[in-house]
């Protein structure tokens, strides 16, 4: 297969631009990142700098990879990270636009690589249960119904890739934040810190420069782990509940 790539290139501290590259004789079984590898191999041999892009596990779990491909975060295929997207999903001869995540809170470091440490800042603010190592009771001392465990697991699957932010017109991090808040609010272990957690994480989200949610639902559509929008409703409930309780 052959493609024409329109790739965002940006040096640190400089303005970026779209540069055109040919991707020739690509196997339909190659992943999108393997296609970029092949283009990069050629660029390096020609003495040009390789296109910088983040990636690591290449099996859809580490959350390191991600670009906006033809306007879609992680490409057009649903429930897929960029590393799991294969070239057979594209038409032979097509033009493919490849751009970095766009958000004030995710500054571009180079080309397609962005700084997502703002996500860590949100977790740092309260995305945990404070339990000192070695002080836990027996695992079966805390019974958790299967339904609850499954529901918590559904949201715990978030890989923190940032596609939700990239897809949102407001660059909101509500889906990401709500996934962690939901997981811990659902589980009995998460109850003691439930109120402060919601408040602190929402505050951190605002400080980091993420936008507000206006219910577009783009995040859910882009999420490679198919995290559901109703978690945002739960986040709002947790947050408002915490505010009311505090006033009372």
């Amino acid at each position: 297969m052959n493609f024409t790539l329109k790739v965002w290139r940006q040096k640190p501290g400089e303005k970026g631009k779209i540069v055109t590259y040919d991707a020739k004789e690509i196997s339909s079984d190659a992943s999108f990142l393997e296609m970029l590898d092949i283009v990069n191999e050629r660029l390096v041999i020609e003495g040009e700098e390789a296109i910088a892009f983040d990636h690591d596990c290449r099996e859809g779990i580490c959350g390191m990879c991600g670009c906006v491909v033809n306007g879609y975060a992680h490409g057009h295929q649903e429930g897929t990270t960029l590393c799991q997207l294969h070239m057979r999903a594209f038409e032979d001869g097509s033009v493919i636009y490849v751009e970095p995540w766009r958000s004030r809170a995710f500054p571009v470091l180079k080309d397609l690589v962005v700084d997502r440490s703002a996500f860590d800042a949100i977790i740092t603010a309260g995305g945990y249960i404070s339990i000192r190592t070695g002080s836990a009771p027996d695992g079966n001392a805390i019974a958790v119904s299967k339904e609850t465990a499954d529901a918590a697991m559904d949201v715990a699957e978030c890989i923190g890739c940032g596609a939700c932010v990239a897809a949102c017109p407001n660059a909101s991090a509500m889906l990401f934040t709500s996934a962690k808040i939901s997981q811990l609010a659902l589980l009995p272990q998460g109850q003691p810190e439930r109120m402060t957690r919601a408040q602190r994480m929402v505050r951190a989200m605002e400080v980091a420069g993420f936008g507000a949610c206006t219910n577009h639902g783009e995040c859910e559509a882009a999420c490679p782990k198919e995290i559901k929008l109703d978690n945002i409703a739960r986040l709002n409930r947790e947050f408002i509940g915490a505010s009311v309780k505090k006033q009372a």
Binding site: T133, I142, A149
Partner: protein, 637 residues
């Protein structure tokens, strides 16, 4: 090189307790005076950083990814073992200990393995309390499943993403300590040198991968939690960034490297499909709970698998190993797959594949029942291959997955350099010559949560503060070395990419030092490695600069170290003329083609000491004694 394991004596069940009692403590007020560097933020690194910080130490944690949540522990699928015996199926600490020593083909240190089995139960408690959503039974209790090499159900799991959930648990504990101001994160940082002075580790030199800045960091102890070296084979199930650089740098500064030839080839991975392929994908071993492995009985049978009737299929694991069946340990399953493929019975266009069939499981449990257990794995398989495994059998083939070898450590997890510790996959300690499924997560978290935080205190209480600062001459020398290497790589301006060398090296190792190794193949590899090295240093091409994000440069540095390291790996494989666990020498096999150990000559850990560039390293041994698990020919029949 002195190898004192410091493993305590006495009844094995009391050793860890008495050792803990005999260790010196650092009082709470003094803990905050000590600085500890942790390199790596996977299960071992994150859990150690979090726990050390909780205790009061000042921790700096370095990792090459953009967030600690990305470390490759996250990709572990199937589960984590513990000796809880919640199933009342006869499990115990002693049985987990025994299974692990036996599964490792009697090449691990008994004291360490027993301790691992003891703390396994604490890990589950800890993770549950952190909010890890383990699978549950309807009554609300924790669920278990079975894994290879065991006849009890002791594996705890969170769907097919156990590693992810455990790592996110450790990550959350780590971030809580970042919030408390006790841990400072150095993201996108790569360790390039270990700084050693007067026999003690003093700190590290790193490269900030965003700015290219080379920096010195001094500390009172350095903990390497930098994972395994499976990527030396180029194609492996490791993440693309996994590398041997930190461990290799420690080795060149005097840390002994133990058993590098113990590499694990995982039996159930998606087969290779093209030259451009960048990595291999694992399908969890847990699939062998319900999937049945087979090949056609007839050579060249190219019918679609679903139309091959049962009596024309060879369920070769069930046939050869009736008592363990599809759940034999990994090394046994991998070699059995290689054997049938060598005999020309392999499936798929390359002939390098066997079927993993779920049709019986679908009949028994229904599609939803299978989805419940393995949904994400089936989903992943379908993404990569465009085939639906609910309808047609998966095709699988073994791939490099884990490395049991690593930096030699004593019972305190300290390397042969004072003050330099190694934990998790980076060390060699607990799995012997073959790791059992669901034991990597257990070991990473055991080291990080429950072992290192005690033993490092004993070291600090004895050794005291490090008096050498980061502006000292020892650091500037290491910094110059790191700078020199970066500049040298940029200056070659040759004609080949770092990746092309990596592929060449990987193929050489896979062909000659992979699932089967012979005197001849290993000597061939030893002959070719220096040639690859020479060409690399004359002909590699790294465009761009050193003072900014340059992924080609990062790769080139890692490939250079892989090339150097591969020589030690092959030498170790050559010197160990027995077969054991994942190390299979064709010269040493039983009549039934099983690995044949030579306990008289090789019941030891081989530890390599660096002797300088271009000089053959020296092989030392740590004799292993087996008081509780008497070595026997492993039998899974």
């Amino acid at each position: 090189m002195k190898l004192d394991s410091k493993a305590p004596d006495g009844p094995i069940e009391n050793r860890w307790d008495s050792h803990k009692f005999n260790m010196k403590l650092v009082n709470p007020a003094n803990k905050r005076k000590f600085d500890i560097i942790v390199v790596g933020a996977g299960l071992a690194g994150a859990s150690a950083s979090a726990t050390l910080a909780e205790l009061g130490y000042n921790v700096r944690c370095f990792f090459y990814q953009d967030s600690p949540r990305r470390a490759h522990s996250i990709a572990a699928q199937g589960g984590i073992n513990a000796a809880k015996n919640y199933q009342s199926d006869g499990d115990s600490i002693h049985r987990l200990f025994y299974d692990t020593v036996k599964g490792g083909d009697y090449r691990a240190r008994e004291s360490n393995v027993y301790r691992l089995a003891q703390v396994s139960n604490n890990i589950i408690d800890q993770c549950v309390a952190q909010g890890v959503p383990f699978a549950r039974e309807y009554g609300g209790n924790l669920a278990n499943r079975s894994f290879g090499g065991a006849q009890v159900s002791r594996t705890f799991y969170a769907r097919g993403q156990t590693g992810q959930q455990l790592l996110l648990g450790a990550y959350s504990a780590l971030m809580a300590q970042v919030n408390a101001g006790k841990v400072k994160l150095h993201r996108r940082s790569e360790m390039l040198e270990l700084v050693v002075a007067d026999g003690r580790a003093r700190g590290i030199v790193t490269r900030d991968m965003v700015t290219g800045k080379i920096e010195s960091h001094a500390a009172d102890a350095v903990v390497l939690a930098t994972g395994g070296y499976g990527n030396v084979f180029y194609l492996s199930t490791n993440a693309k960034g996994c590398n041997v650089t930190a461990a290799w740098r420690a080795y060149t500064k005097g840390a002994g490297f133990a058993n590098p030839c113990y590499t694990q080839i995982h039996p159930t991975c998606i087969p290779v499909h093209g030259e451009y392929q960048s990595k291999l994908t694992l399908m969890s071993e847990s699939l062998r709970n319900d999937g049945r492995i087979w090949v056609p009985k007839k050579k060249g049978d190219d019918r679609v698998p679903t139309s091959i009737p049962d009596h024309e299929r060879d369920y070769y694991l069930e046939r050869r190993y009736p008592s363990f069946g599809n759940l034999v340990p990994r090394d046994v399953a991998s070699r059995a797959a290689k054997k049938v493929c060598d005999e020309g019975l392999g499936v798929g266009s390359s002939g390098l594949g066997v079927y993993l069939d779920f049709s019986d499981a679908v009949k028994r449990l229904g599609e939803d029942g299978v989805r419940e257990r393995y949904g994400n794995l089936f989903h992943m398989y379908e993404k990569i291959t465009a085939e639906n495994p609910y309808k047609v059998p998966m095709r699988i083939f073994p791939a490099v997955h884990y490395t049991m070898g690593g930096l030699w450590v004593d019972y305190n997890l300290m390397t042969t350099i004072d003050g330099c510790f190694a934990i998790g996959e980076a060390n060699f300690s607990d799995h012997g010559a073959n790791r059992l499924g669901a034991s990597a997560l257990m070991q990473g978290l055991a080291d990080g949560y429950f072992i290192l935080p005690y033993t490092i205190g004993d070291y600090l209480a004895t050794a005291g503060k490090n008096s050498i600062h980061s502006d000292d001459k020892y650091f500037s020398k290491s910094k110059d070395d790191a700078h020199g290497k970066v500049n040298r790589l940029l200056a070659i301006k040759g004609e080949r990419t770092p990746d092309s060398f990596h592929r060449e090296l990987g193929k050489l190792l896979w062909d000659n030092c992979g699932m089967a190794r012979s005197d001849e193949s290993l000597k061939r590899a030893l002959e070719k490695i220096p040639k690859i090295k020479d060409e690399f240093w004359q002909n590699v091409k790294v465009p761009g600069e050193g003072k900014e994000l340059n992924q080609t440069l990062e790769m080139a540095g890692r490939v250079a170290d892989f090339i150097d390291f591969s020589e030690v790996l092959v030498r170790d494989a050559l010197a160990r003329t027995e077969s054991c666990g994942g190390h299979f020498r064709v010269e040493s096999q039983t009549d039934e083609n099983e690995a044949k150990r030579d306990d008289d000559n090789f019941a030891h850990a081989a530890v390599w000491e660096y002797k300088g560039e271009g000089t053959i390293p020296e092989r030392h041994t740590e004799q292993l004694s087996f008081e509780y698990c008497k070595p026997s020919q492993r039998s899974y029949k």
